[in-house]
Each structure stands twice: as C-alpha cells, then as structure tokens.
Amino acid sequence: MWLGLVVLLPLAALVWRAAGLGRAGWLHVLRDPRVQASLAVSFETALVAALLAAVAGALVAWVVVRYRFPGRRLLDALVDLPFALPTAVAGIALTAIYSTNGWVGRWLEPHGLKIAYTQTGIVIALIFIGLPFAVRTVQPVLESLGREQEEAAASLGAGRITTLRRVILPELLPALLTGFSLAFARGLGEYGSVIFIAGNLPYKTEIAPLLITIRLEEYDYTGAIAIAALLLVASFACLLAIGAATRWIPNGQSHA
C-alpha cells in the first residue's frame, strides 16, 4: 500500500500522461532533432561507461577477492564511495579535476585531450557512478566460486587463459551482465554528476534527463513527458534484463 502510494502512483501519473499525448504529440517530440541528439548522447555515453565500468569493476573485484596485499580492505571500502558521495559533490569534483586547470586536465590538454565539457567527461562521470554496481555484483559471485573447478582445470592441463575463459567467465557472466545493466540503467538516468562536467551544449553534450528539466522550465510538458516515458521504458527494460540474468545464475539465488 505504502509502496503503491510512494512509488506506483507517481509512475502511474507519468504513464497516464504519456499515453494521453497522442500520436501527434509523440511525433512532434520525437522529430525534434534536439531530443534525438540528447537521447543519442545519453544512450551512447551510458553504454560505453557501463561497458568500461563492468570491465574495470570485474578487475577490481578480482583483485580484492583473490589477492592479498596491503591496503586491500581500504580499496574494498573505497569502492562504495561513489555510492555514498552525493552526485552533485562528485560532479563538481570531477569537473574540477578534468577541466583545463585541473589535476588531470592540465596534463591531458596539451596533448589535445579534452575531457571536461565533452562526451568523454560524461563517460568518466558515469563510470564513477557505475563502478560500485559492477564491483558489488561480481564480487560475491567470485567469492563463492569454488577453487576446486579451477584446480581441476589446471590439473587437466588447462592454461590460465583457458581456465579463465572456460571455467571462470561462464560463472561470472550473469553477474557481469547484471552489473552492466545496473550501471547502464543508472548511467542513463544520472543527472547530478553529469550536468557539471558535461557542459550541456545542445546537440553535443546535452543528456536526456537534463533536457527533461529544460522542457519543464519552458512549461513544455509534452516534451518532458515524452522523453521521461522513453527513459522509463529503458529502465524497465534494464530491470527485466537484470531479472533474466539473475534467474540464469547457477545457484539460483537472487543477486540483483
């Protein structure tokens, strides 16, 4: 009941209003090149960032679970920082680091690499946001992965690469996919950390969630509702994908 009130009712309002837009309203919004561009920016950056976050997350999870080294627990704790750090704080910090005079930007810019106020900047912010999701979905699976199978594979003469590919990767794949989907879903909707570093140039670095707020400020409810409905559908698709990946996990536990 409470969940219905707090979660379902607002979403129902959006779905209802989106359905009420009619064909003409939808076409009007979807044909707008600025809307198309912002959706493209959002989907592309979220996709790239989720892929990179999944790879980086798997690496960090592997190192934290399998190796013992000084600072391991600190590294493990640090993984949750993007989760705990408010997005606006992360946004201004990342912008400061990667802008022309920033700690990193100052080294990259002479080489022609601009990060802040480009799509690369958006990707960096989204990796930051997505990384904990990737690590925390892969990590428990790695922990529960028995070493017996790997030992068996090794004793049967499999090399490390073969073991990784044939034994470890298949076990990890569902978790990796879940982590990827979570990072993608979060990346698609992320607002706070992106708007500072993105520069928000229409057609170039304007993300879809930002365009929603712009349309709202212009009292263009049709535009805002249509874009929001598309994002909503995309996030439900991600949830479904996560659900599918979860059921696929061998031990049948809910990992999402």
């Binding site: 969940l3 309002a13 959006l14 399998r66 949750d80 705990a84 925390r136 992320e190 929603i212």
Partner: protein, 290 residues
Amino acid sequence: MANPMRDSMINDPLAGPRWLRWLLIAIAIVLMMLLVFMPLAMVLTAAFAKGVGVWFAALIEPDAVSALKLTLFTAAIVIPLNAFFGVLTAWAVTRFEFKGKRLLMALIDVPFAVSPVVAGLCLVLLFGANGWFAPWLAAHDWKILFARPAIVMATLFITFPFVAREIIPLMQQQGSDEELAARSLGAGAWTMFRRVTLPNIKWGLLYGVLLCSARAMGEFGAVSVVSGHIRGLTNTLPLHIEILYNEFNSTAAFAVASLLAGLALITLVLKFWLEARHGDALSQSHRRHS
C-alpha cells in the same frame, strides 16, 4: 610495494606469476585512485584552498544554514518512514504468500533504475499546476510542489529500496522458525517482533538505514526538479552547491560539498565497521546493495 602478507599465495599455482598479480593489483589501485579517490581529495583540497576561515564562512552563511536545516529536516522524516515501511515490506514479502508478491518484489527495485529526474517529473505531474491533485490542493490551499512536501516525497521515492533490500535477504535466510516458536510459547505478535525478529535484523536494518540516509541527504536530481530552487526556503545542500558553483563561487561550493563528503566518509566508516564487526549478522548478500 610491500610483500604479500600471506606466503601461501606465493606458491598458489592458480594465482599466476608474481608480475601478473602485482600488475593487476597496481592497475586496480591506480584505477581506484584516479576514479574514486581523487574526487574526494579534490573536494577537500578545494574546500580549504582559501583557508579554514573562508571554509567556515561559507558554512555559516544564512542560505547554507537554511539548506542544511532543510536537508536534515527531510532526512529526519524520510529515514524513519522508509525504515518502518522497509521492515513492513520485507515482512510482507518474506512471511506471507499473496497475489502480486513478485510484482511487489520487482517494484522495490524500481526507484533504483528510474532516473531521479523522471521521478521528480512524476511528482510534478501529480501536484503541479495542472496535475491530478491540482484542483483539490488549490481548494485546500496546500502547497506541495516547490515546497517542502515535494522535496520529502521525492526523497522518499528515491531512497525507498535501501532498507527493504537489506532486510529481505536477511529475513529469507533466517526463516520463520524462531518466530513460530515464540508464538507457540504464547508471545503476541508485537512481543514476537520486538523480542525475536527485531534483534535478528537489527544490524541489517542499521545498514539499510545508513545507506538510506547517505542517499537522502545527497539526493540531487529528483529534488532539483521539484524544489523550485528558492534560496533560503526550498534549497537543500546539494542544490545549494549547484547554485554556488554556477555563480563561480567554487570555494564556497566545495566548502559545502566537503560537508556532504564528510558525511559520505562517516557513512563508509560506519559501514566498514558494521561489516567487520557484525558481518555475520548481516545478510550474506550484504555487499550487494546495488
């Protein structure tokens, strides 16, 4: 770099050659430093760039104080509500069979996947000038949008899953045997909850509350859409940071940001402590608050 702490790892045939191990560790550390640690360091450095005096001045400035008050006010309402209903939802989902249970389980995850901006927009559609409740609200002269109630509601929406998600796996693992035993010994429902269920889930509950509060005080996107950005009235701390930053007052922006970053650090330390001390009382999946 120091030597591995456990000698057994050195001879582990599965761990791979030493150089590979150290290479991977080095990559992971550099990655985390660059991506995760540096922003935190940046916030603290920039906050104190002009000295403690300037930092402190930015914090006691009236708009910052009122933003802090609003953030705490919101958190004070949202956290207990979500803790209560999180436990209630977890209870319903793990102890009863009913129609639509799977749907309910799926619904819990929705706020994680939905964009905060979309969540904010939903509230605008409900309470805005031509929203569903607009006539009724106007008749009663209630202001929800661009006022505190909407900020609280947006935060409720965003942070709802945290407590429920922590407790559900915990209650699933524990099963209801102890509770049934308590009931059969004559305990009432409330006594049973207070004496059996609550002690069993208390660390998980604390864990969920911790994550919930971190998010509640830092929420930006959803709150930004519904707040109206009225200085001194409907600005939360994250929104205040945005305003200061856009006014090129970055030292003040980072000063306020350092406050929230400090909060995030406290959250992490508490979480670390909880996992280290009471890890066995948390769900096996306690790491997965994703």
